[in-house]
Symmetry: C2
Subunit: 788 residues, 2 copies
């Protein structure tokens, strides 16, 4: 069953019924003011930090789901009947319903007894506020007298405290009507320089600042007493739960259309509010702001455009995956309908991976953030696991208390992110930027990277592999033995790759002294891995604190783990034969209809010595779900060993577009990746959970563009190395790279997966498959002929 | 308007309509397993600690209010109509409704289309579980085929994490049906030795372990799809939101009555569950357990029984106030419908005051807890502000970070609690008990008390008064100047009283060496206060960090504060004339129709240098509300100066019984005190907020029994010193004291407030008004004749 489809130009996803299996949401976001909105108007907003500066309140995990939101009610004054043009919260059956999630905006259209309405929500690119624009049209043959109600429920600023310190919070907020600006104005009594406003372009006839006055006792957003009566009670919130509810009148002749603009935002003072109002209380000005928003996104997307035989692939790679990558870059794993933005900071590991998804389009922002986050590294080379974007300070999560306080992998991700950044931009100057350590001493970025290597080098266990510390990439593989000697094979493989990457960086930037050492360490680790981590059909995953192997045929549960197979190939440690063998084992033991499982078999009960991984019920999360993040690594591995059909099959298995017609099984949005898809050991096999904020976004984009299409930035040029399904005749890509436009035409007349016969650049044959750097602000045509 | 009344024997409050202004709740509680239940079945439960071990989930501050709860649904199989016998959550209009909140139990009766039902909820005294017993009767003339559904929603154990770490918590719970024990069984996958069970004495026909399966998407407890369809879907929760929903069948002939027993609890294993079931699956056994519960409460209440001309006074003093005191002693300010039990530990100051309300009835428990909490004292004499009951560790709240890390008053409350304990019990041995300091060194309790005095002595400011530190009793009076030199006049007065109390303790226990020093320090502080803290008509409240006076006629806002007037009298520092003058100022400036305000005028805006107190909107909380806790101190002060009419007037103003007929204004329960009543500077003047957990409980009981009735334990006997309304002819009290029963008959033939002409003990005249200690397990008759 499906609940919608992609629009013709693929830049909108159109939802055709409101009762989607989960709220299907969108981010309206200028990087500071961020609003999430569902397909029925639910959702919340915040400014810069979702814990400290929460604007609209949200009740996570509520029943009914998805409350509250940016709600409007229309009420027919003749019949007293009322409905919500976005379906929620009245949930009254609409004659027609459509929600278009576009890039940075959401438009919900509906019709009820001849009244058509459309609500457009967006956050303008340059101002910290949100716009709700209602267009309402009378399609009946009678004059219609309508009441229009609006509802916004405020969070009392600190979103954590808002959920638990009621005896304090319910006494500190003020929300009232300000006639001069025809707005509800909300602030905390103690917030000297802050003012929230909710403006309506229609004359506000009645209002409520106090939730209880508007909603009524033992009622909800579904049936507010104010709407039922046809008028708010003009209440002021002095303490209590502050809201901005307003009512106004709309009279529509047959066929008449009217528009009402609502502005919700925050400001230092009333003068600034007036500026906002004069700026946005004008449909023309709003339209030009909306156009700017669309242009920004069009420009953003222009950096990479693929045209392949698979339309679904095109729309993910060209539009929705880059769109999701921008969101993960902005908000990491911080704030969604499932991540509450109040429990933790931003992951260092997460952030570094998120840069991969936007580095080509936002190199300056990536550079800036890479330098900031490097500041949470210690002199020893390890890093804090988390950082807080407002304070720029680092932290470890609570559950590290009893553990060795480092994560085996965290610091290594810096090297991958830096290597990717330099390959994309050629900007070696970043290596010379001075950045402090936590202790206060300062060194340049290159030294920071070297210290990351040194930390792993200096922290190895009895078998010579890197200590896992609190955990590695798999946060829940917590080897809780008393000796703190758990070793991670995955980290060992990442270390090998990091050494090679840093070797390349050093060589390319002329710092040759260190190269030999990096190469030597890499070779040693490669040997060790092939000596001690090969299990016969696959690579093992770890050694427990007591030296017991994890991820081996010797184990009954957790016999084979995905990551040490894909990384064995990706990191370059697996000899060809083993690479094939371990990826064949993946195919044999881990591949399911909906993607590749993280491990098999899942743990059937909790094992204290493994910790979190066995705290999940089998088939969920790290205990054997299809943990989406890890699937692109397997796709990359398949590309490396040349099996384009498999790579593409794996790609499609988790691709959201392929879920459009099984939305009742998949449940999450069919336009973005989710963190996890329930594994086949769980009765709800195929359910996606925790959509939007996941490392899957960046890595799947990389797998698609750099490995399947094979258009891959390298230090000295753009490498062309496709590994595609044999069925494809070829494909075209237009890509921005180092200030030139590369128009690449790939032909596949022999229907192979991999291999290049010749490449013609600007009508000239070149040797090899590395396209040079032009840096000339011009277009260049590259024709690639695949062949044995 | 009223929503109910007290039953004839006053041991139940009967609510007659379900839509009370706020949920009116009850605590079902054996000191370990605690369940809160509202008059419509809403509420939650926990085991020992409300953060760490939460059993049933609650959505604080939700709309609709008061969800979820212990819900039942009855469904007529002929018509498919369904309703809730406790009104919530279906909120279907009932033909009849009645909720009786009794001591430790709640019984909700209702009737719908001829089906009568009664639901009795209680926690048995000796087992950690809760019982729901449904009695259903067919009063129609037809056979009735009914479906019975039950619903309990589990919290995922850690109540803080449950609200914010959804991406983890929604993957770790298991809830399923266990046929062998006809129960739903819930646990965390990682909880090796824990098992929650929900048993039904009716054969479970269908069930749901998974919330979404039972409720359905975009639905709520109000209209679960399971109930609508007439059958659950037999879902297992493996991750997701775990619930225990069951359905069973009930067939009732005309006039037939049936009973169904539900048990909800936790256990180490299935064997234990079977024991519980065999113990409680039997109406006779349940009745005997219920009888035991009632007996326990009757015995508890027997310790003090007053019979005065005012029936309302009697029912508060004899029943509901001691009942509330037991609750505050058990749960302090930790967990209610407004206190979430997840944001903070138990206040040291709070706990010590809470002992005053139960010391006569629970001396052993008080002794034990006093010794434990003394362990969070530092060698310097100060104490942690908070302690955690499971770990017994202390803590300071977050907001002390920027302050001097002590509260000016905290440590002094130990002395009041100890003095009260010894006066009640004569147990001087507690002074010799060894107790550690935070640093690990050990001294006896007497030394702990001395160090408390020393801390204040060693931390005084420029005027010689005790430094306020982070704050004093008024947590929100945060004098945030840079020099940390804010001084508290209230602490100075408390210090004076603490010195006198410790002087008495030392003298009575024969530690005479210290006495002179205590007396000297007390006299000095008394002089200083009268020299520097008298403002002309009242005592000032504090000096700010920069030496500015707070609570003076010189201030425009915060001119007069209540506490330094009542404590000036209570602590004995005010000479008679000033005592009268300052209490007259209280009457003139602070007394309102609904109680005495904390200060006047409230702060009209936020002043960063005063902190929290001015973060509340005027009339709320510490910014000028009727902060109930402080009213009994004023009552005591009026008793001390002999104005019984005023004392009693103030008593009545906040007494919940006086709110019964203005429940729409008062809003909170008319059978317990609330923390605060909105002041007359607020448009919602008279609204009570944050009911149940407040220091008001203990202090009002003390004001009533020890000061108005004037039956006051002293070191060497029971003092008789009434200060009553002149209108009273007299009153009788039966009081347990030091292993004897004192039957006290007070006669007031001259209709005076205060003064005793003669006292006859066991038919013999005695000198003075101190009744001796008999310690003979016998009754003694004391006839008191009041007179000039």
């Amino acid at each position: 069953m499906n609940y919608g489809y992609f629009s013709e130009d693929n830049r909108e996803y159109i939802i055709t019924r409101p009762d989607t299996p989960t709220p299907w949401i969108n981010y309206l976001n200028n990087g500071k003011y961020c609003a999430m909105v569902s397909n029925t108007g639910g959702g919340y907003s915040f400014y810069i930090d979702p814990k400290e500066n929460r604007i609209l309140r949200y009740r996570y995990n509520n029943i009914p789901v998805d409350r509250p939101g940016r709600y409007l009610y229309l009420r027919d004054r003749e019949t007293s009947e009322y409905w919500s043009p976005t379906w929620q919260p009245t949930m009254k059956k609409l004659d027609d319903y459509k929600c278009a999630h576009g890039l940075g905006y959401t438009k919900i259209s509906s019709s009820y007894q001849g009244i058509n309405s459309e609500v457009l929500y967006f956050v303008p690119p340059n101002d910290d506020l949100e716009l709700w624009i209602l267009t309402v049209k009378n399609e009946t043959s009678k004059l219609k007298n309508l009441d229009l109600f609006s509802y916004a429920e405020f969070c009392i600023w600190d979103a954590d405290s808002d959920q638990k310190d009621l005896q304090y919070n319910l006494n500190i907020a003020v929300s009232k009507y300000d006639e001069e600006i025809n707005s509800m104005v909300y602030n905390l009594f103690s917030l000297l320089n802050g003012l929230f406003f909710f403006y309506s372009s229609n004359n506000i006839e009645t209002y409520d600042g106090d939730r209880e006055s508007f909603i009524g006792n033992y009622r909800s957003e579904e049936n507010p007493i104010g709407v039922e009566k046809g008028a708010c009670s003009n209440s002021i919130a002095l303490g209590g739960n502050p809201i901005a509810a307003t009512s106004s009148k709309i009279t529509l002749k047959p066929n008449e259309t009217k528009k009402v603009i609502f502005l919700l935002g925050l400001s230092q003072n009333k003068t600034k509010i007036k500026e906002f109002i004069s700026k946005y209380d004008n449909i023309d000005k709003i339209e030009s702001s909306f156009k700017e928003l669309k242009n920004n996104w069009n420009n953003y997307l222009k950096g990479f455009e693929a045209n392949t035989p698979d339309k679904n692939f095109n729309l993910i790679v060209n539009i929705w995956n880059p769109y999701q990558c921008k969101t993960t870059f902005d908000w990491s794993r911080y704030v969604s309908f499932y991540e509450t933005g109040i429990g933790r900071g931003i992951g260092f590991r997460d952030f570094n991976q998120d840069t991969l998804g936007v580095c080509d389009r936002l190199p300056k922002k990536v550079r800036q953030k890479l330098l900031i986050t490097a500041g949470i590294q210690f002199e020893s080379g390890k890093v804090y696991h988390l950082y807080y974007p407002i304070t720029k300070k680092g932290d470890f999560p609570n559950y590290t208390n009893q553990q060795q306080v480092f994560f085996g992998d965290d610091h290594l991700w810096m090297i991958f992110a830096l290597s990717n950044y330099i390959k994309e931009t050629g900007d070696y100057s970043i290596l010379k930027e001075n950045v402090p350590y936590v202790e206060g001493t300062i060194e340049n970025m290159y030294d920071h990277l070297k210290r990351a290597i040194e930390f792993t080098k200096n922290h190895t266990g009895p078998h010579g592999f890197p200590l896992i510390g609190t955990a590695d990439w798999n946060d829940t593989l917590q080897l809780r033995g008393p000796h703190k000697q758990g070793e991670s094979i995955m980290v060992a493989m990442q270390y090998h790759k990091a050494l090679l990457d840093l070797y390349d960086i050093a060589q390319q930037s002329g710092i040759n002294d260190d190269c030999l050492e990096f190469k030597k360490l890499a070779d040693e680790m490669k040997d060790l891995l092939n000596k001690k981590a090969w299990d016969g059909e696959w690579y093992i995953r770890a050694f427990d604190d007591d030296g017991t192997v994890i991820g081996s045929h010797k184990n009954k549960e957790g016999r084979i783990f995905l990551n040490t197979q894909s990384w064995a190939v990706f990191s370059g440690i697996a000899p060809k034969e083993r690479a094939l063998k371990c990826m064949n084992s993946v195919r044999k033991y881990l591949v399911t209809d909906y993607g590749i499982k993280l491990l098999n078999p899942p743990y059937s009960r909790f094992y204290p010595k493994f910790g979190g991984i066995s705290s999940f019920t089998p088939g969920l999360k790290e205990n054997g779900s299809i943990f989406s993040h890890t699937n692109p690594w397997a796709e990359i591995a398949e590309c490396i060993i040349g099996r384009g059909n498999y790579a593409y099959e794996y790609y499609e298995k988790i691709a959201p577009t392929t879920k459009n017609n099984i939305a009742d099984i998949h449940r999450a949005e069919p336009y973005v990746f989710a963190q996890m898809i329930t594994g086949n050991d769980h009765p709800k096999f195929g359910n996606a959970r925790n959509s939007w904020l996941t490392g899957t976004a960046a890595w799947t984009l990389k797998a698609a563009t750099d490995w399947i299409l094979g258009i891959r930035p390298e230090f000295k040029g753009l490498l062309i190395d496709p590994c595609i399904p044999e069925s494809w005749n070829g494909f075209n890509v237009i890509r921005n790279y180092r200030n030139s436009i590369y128009k690449i035409i790939v032909q596949n007349p022999d229907h192979i997966s991999k291999g290049i016969q010749e490449i013609i650049v600007d009508n000239k044959n070149i040797n090899g498959n590395l396209i040079p750097i032009f840096n000339d602000n011009k277009s260049h045509e590259i024709v690639v002929k695949m062949g044995e």
